[in-house]
Amino acid sequence: MLQLLALHLLAAVAAPAIMRRFGRKGFLPLALVPGSAAVWAVVNTGAVVDGRGPTLDVSWIPALDMSLSFRLDVLSWLMVILVGGVGAIVLGYCAWYFASGAKFLGRFAGVFVAFAGAMLGLVTTDNTLVLYVFWELTTVFSYLLIGHYFDRKGARRAAMQAIIVTTLGGLAMLFGFLILGEAEGGSYTISELIAAPPAGGGLVTAAIVLVLVGAISKSALVPFHFWLPGAMAAPTPVSAYLHAAAMVKAGVYLVARFAPGFAETPVWQWMILLTGGATMILGGYRALRQHDLKLLLAFGTVSQLGFLILLVGQADRAVALAGLALIGAHAMFKAALFLTVGVIDAAAGTRDLRQLSGLAKHLPWATVPGVLAAFSMVGLPPFAGYVGKEAALEALVHLDDPMSVAVLVVVVIGSILTFAYGMRFLWGAFARKKGVPDTSVDKEATGLYVAPNVLAFAGLFAGLFPVAGETLLAPYADTYPQGEPGHLTLWGGFGIPLLLTGVIIVAGLLLMLGRTAIERAQELVSVGPDADRTYRGTMRRLDSISVAVTSITQRGSLPVYLGLILLTTVVMIWTSAYAGGLRIGALKPWDYPVQAGVAVVIAVAAFLTARARRRLKAVVLLGITGYGVVLLFALQGAPDLALTQALVETITLVVFILVLRRLPAYFSNRPLKASRWWRAILATIVGVTVTFVALVIPNARVTDTIAELFPEEAYNFGYGRNIVNVTLVDIRAWDTMGEISVLLVAATGVASLVFLRARAGRVERIRDHDMDRGSVWASDSPGDDALVRRSRTQPVRSTRNRRWISAGVALAPHRRSVIFEVATRLIFHTMLVFAVYLLFAGHNSPGGGFVAGLVAGIALTVRYLAGGRYELGEAAPVLPGLLLGSGLFLSAGAGAVPLAFGGVVLQSAVIDFHLGYLGDVHLVTTLFFDIGVFLVVVGLMLDILRSLGAEVDRQGEAEGRAAPDVAHDSPRSTADDAQPLEDALAGGGPR
């Protein structure tokens, strides 16, 4: 079994290669693959009829109750023979059907064989979920096959329609299977479900409906019937196989499979009667007006599928037997008819029955199978179709419950229509029509005629030996819950069934004679809603609804998104706080009253920040809130934190101001005015919420904090008295390692945005500066203050003493400040030494790598501010990337070293040794980690200065712009405010 499936898979994968090698004749070897499945079934016939068919159970995903269980019982046997046999015959037909130079045959053949494999699995598996797997695979493959001629719009549309409709049904079926599987007493094994259906209840009823929805969508029953005629856009062999013999039969198979267990349920009976009955009649009726032979057959197929499901969906054994017989008969005659139409299409170049004339004479070997198959379809003896239909009539006549009577009526009406359109097909395809000249036909290869003839004659033989069919099929029909076993026979004696057959033939002939009037009438009167149009309308509505909904949910506006997030958060917090009955407990206003003062300052500054329209003002006010926090830290006795925070605030301020040089002085207020109050209210609510939470939650603590453990362990195990530093470099060094990587990334990221394309690979040194090209920012008109300084034409290096900093000469004279340069000269090295001190002292006193790096960074900032970008290059003639990279490498590497010695990552050790007169050295290995931190922080600072400082200068200069000067531009400059960020804040329209 699995071997057969694997064979299909292999053949499908190899098909493109085979087709490339053999051309269209490659279909012939491929035909052997589905053929082998049919042969396998035939070989097992005896065992199957005795109920000893092969079974297989391979575990796949036990957790989901999905196992590859297969079994060949009578129903599966029948389906395998049809799927495999018809598949092989149709593939053989393909070898002559396609033009020898046709494109994409490899893909076509591969998908076709894969489809056959999926179908084989579908009809043999005993696991509902695995059945669904194959079910969906057939859907997908049929999508690809319908869309074979994908450059045609109709084909694309039809393929899409087919996959959406059948997947809709498939998913419904999956839902049903899952309910049946999870229900009390349920199972994912089909045979168990049939043997012991889960006890009723609303859910199980729903499951039955859902499974049936799957079946009727796949088999194109009303209201899903419309996709099947559309699918005729596929090449004719595909129509013959998928849309007549195989895939659409999956729904019939499913109904037949589940009927023994569920056919007595009222909801089942009603659904079968309504959908099956409506389909049988509607399909036949619509077939009467089609001009395209293929479409005529398609509607005929729809009708027949309704018929089949109506029969196999009954609870009665005799009806079921008739249904099973008709499944076989239908596969043969319908595939034969489609293939015949394919021949006609190929030979005559048209399928329009109004243009075809006299083909009976010119295409005798198409006429023979056409006639034989059509006779079988309309139920004339001695064909298989007749045997099945007679058995159905016979069985239904003997039942007298109202449901069966209704079925009988439907079957008779449907059969009359079938007879009529069958005859119309024969007339349309082969007859010589008045006023239409004989159609000229091309000569087709003999091979093309083989397949339809084989199938049509098979239908004849099957009809001639009805007893064989009865013997083979009865074992499955007998599993149905009710009634006497039925019989298949050519001659059932005189009785009502024969009478009904007579009625069908006479009425059908009458309809056939009145065909022109009926066509005309159908064009005038539309019956009920057009399902196809409904589908298209639904999809259009779906598209427009989705656009409408998305334009609400997806505003493209950052303020809206933020507002939504905050609002959701606030609502959630208050709801849960209310539900949890939270109250503000005992409060202690402050440790020292001065804290309250600081808090007020912070709050006022924060409020003013939000109100500020001037960027610089906002930044400075923001800085005040930061320094307020510094004070709070200091008041709490946390000098390390205060120190760090102060340095961070300072640097942030510098960075902000560097950035602000290139931004307009004022925030744009244009787009935000309208919503200002809403935003203010929301901000207030958020603030109140967070405050409330902060007031309530700390009171809930019932245990000590882990902080209690820190002092002792930091000293005993971390060898340091400065707990903050030990925490940073040892206890929580893992956090620090992560955070310095954040610094590294942030630094390089900012630089990459400023340098954009080429991240400058070299440091700008003073020796690179071409004095003749003018000094930095020289394009400025000198202000009055410049007059007091020497002009740039004066020799710069004349007096050595005047040169306080290395690259000051590169700066335009009026930009220089002697006092600043002298001060820089004085403090730069001191700061660096202090930084090194902080780095080494950190373990026991305030300090550490982070703070040290910030101090060194400020030293560099001072150099840059005093001397411009060449000065920066002189002060730190290295690329920041090198500092950042080696810093991270050192820190993370130092962390990893202990692993090599069997230790734990980031483990520290202490080394004590004497240095003679210099004293004792108490070295903790975390120092190496801290040096890495130091390097990263210095690298970060350097990178920021180089990019937001030096590079922004250079770009400004290159653009010939004046030195950006934050302090002096006018409020009116907001008019050309067009930063991308502002656009985002303003919000786009719905997208």
Binding site: I61, T568, I731
Partner: protein
Amino acid sequence: MTWLVPLPVVVPLIAAGLALAMSRRPRVQGAISVAALSIVLAVAIGLIFVTHTQGPQVVNVGGWSAPVGIALVGDRLSALMLLVSAIVLLCVLLYSLAQGIADGNEGAPVAIYHPTYLVLSAGVANAFLSGDLFNLYVGFEILLAASFVLLTLGGTGERIRAGSIYVIVSLLSSVLFLISIAMIYAATGTLNLAQLSERLLEIDPGVRLVLQVMLLMGFAIKAAVFPLSAWLPDSYPTAPAPVTAVFAGLLTKVGVYAIIRMQTLLFTDGALDTVLMWAALLTMLVGIIGAVAQDDIKRLLSFTLVSHIGYMIFGISLANQTGLSSAIFYVAHHITVQTALFLVAGLIERRGGTTSLEKLGSLGKFAPALAILFFVPAMNLAGIPPMSGFLGKVGLLQAGLELGSPLALATVAGGLLTSLLTLYAVVKAWNKAFWQDAPEKLPGDSTPRSMFGPAAVLAALGVLFAVVGGPLYHYTDAAARDLQAQTPYVDAVLVHGDRGEGDSDAAGGDDG
């Protein structure tokens, strides 16, 4: 074998430092990155085996015994997440290397691409391994900072605009997360997840609920759960293809991972399960409706990304073993399939010159291999069996029916509808991009094989998941069982009652 645990973080960080220091030699950088991520992949495979056979692996960093120090915990869930993310990261890296070779390295700031990418991978790994709430925050910060840089790579106006939405929303979520951490510490006095699992049970249930809500909000933004999801489709699609691919695959899933952890380890009383289930249902539907409305492949995929987050949240909200197990399975599936699809979208853009469905066409004719490469993961995304998406979905639906509440049933139905609409969206895209004739001639040239390979590997993973579905589900079941029991995790961290393995407390005892 606990020495394996820190490596997925430490190795990429060391490599990132090295790569940045080598920024003038792109080839060396590439070699460093590939080597580092290959090591991570090997470690992840090792961790899978170790955690599966020996239980959670715990490292108390620096020998500081939990809860004083930071504990790194690799359990079954983390190991699986690490493995999948390592595969994805490596594939995307190879893809971007190939792209760099094909396009020449001119015109892009590649010097920082490798270090940043490595830092990103370290951050993702750190988030998966962290056993400490604040360190989890650090892991998030690492990956977010790196993602900010990657998203704005090249600095075009469009990317800056998209980036600003992403950055600001991410920062907001980080602030919420940070406030939650502060509050949780204030209420319990600890940050260690294992200890939190015990201490959160001791505090007032009302307070616990508020804490849960706050933490959940922070994570839900990152995971892009409706109504906190709108930022995602506006920010992802503009980035370079490999960047979008890795973001779409991994970053939201880190949020989902965090939600799984908090719901199974920290807040186990199921107080928010109903809320989560509603969120799951709405995320699925609103997301997929958004996808249907798109006419750009990348945006379409971004919306399906949001939508399918709903599946995972659904699994979490069910709070039964099947649900969790399937959610974990679905995370693994979704990481690979979304990454694959975004990589393919990159290939489509190269071939067709655009990702707009209005302008694309004829790819089925001119790029049949690309067609297969799109079709397979697209069908997988739509849950077409027997691929991984289907398997994950079936598990989730089974779990939903197992619970059987009306809301669960409605969400099951919503999930099926989402599945159908996903199929509709991708089929529509396929029809337009691959079948329909292009309105204008396609400008692109053929795709280099070397870019094809990584995308194909990821696409094939979806099929492979089906083949190994049995063992994989066995594994996720075990992972879910561990999560629900909690004891494997907690006991592995706090081996000595309230303290973990490590020497810091012992040292204290000696001296004191």
